[in-house]
Amino acid sequence: DTAVSQTPKYLVTQMGNDKSIKCEQNLGHDTMYWYKQDSKKFLKIMFSYNNKELIINETVPNRFSPKSPDKAHLNLHINSLELGDSAVYFCASSLFGENYGYTFGSGTRLTVV
């Protein structure tokens, strides 16, 4: 039983297209996150939702729009894809609070050509 599942695992698309990545967790966590990992393995937080409310919104182009229909789901929609958007995107979840670890999904490798 997958705890945090992301779809799709791989996404290859052309510049200018719009795409979505979906994430679901079955851990009963109330907080979910999107992270971007670049080719040098640096992980950077993009967004976080707590009980469907946006609580972290880092400096991310407004072409990226997260949506959380309920606390078990967090989707990421990207408009007008650019070459620089190519990366691995990770969804994660946790309980809200300072002393909880995250559970990560297996990632979505996005390649923009």
């Binding site: 640096f42 992980l43 990770f90 300072e98 002393n99 670890g101 995250y102 990560f104």
Partner: protein, 112 residues
């Protein structure tokens, strides 16, 4: 810039040897966490050490935390080929709530 920075960036050891990696961070923290990432996979939470703890163990893992030096170390004892992975430290800076900030990772290769 990254809140946490791991050292070394890469480490190659023989199976059975110990692997030690360090993490330095910049701001005050409530806890520090270590994660493992196998190639092509997501990150797996290994251990969380709170700011009032100095040492913590989990199986073959030993983590230390020195808040006066703003540093932590992760020791993997009796390494196995399956320990080959990237290891990241992560901190939620105080007043940043749930936001975990990751270092750049240490790539560990355990040769059989």
């Amino acid at each position: 810039s990254q809140q946490g920075e791991e050292d070394p960036q890469a480490l190659s050891i023989q199976e059975g040897e110990n692997a030690t990696m360090n993490c330095s961070y910049k701001t005050s923290i409530n806890n520090l966490q270590w994660y493992r990432q196998n190639s092509g996979r997501g990150l797996v939470h290994l251990i969380l050490i709170r700011s009032n703890e100095r040492e913590k163990h989990s199986g073959r893992l030993r983590v230390t935390l020195d808040t006066s030096k703003k540093s932590s170390s992760l020791l993997i004892t009796a390494s196995r080929a399956a320990d080959t992975a990237s290891y990241f430290c992560a901190t939620p800076p105080k007043a940043a709530g749930n936001k975990l900030t990751f270092g750049g990772g240490t790539r560990v290769l355990v040769k059989p």
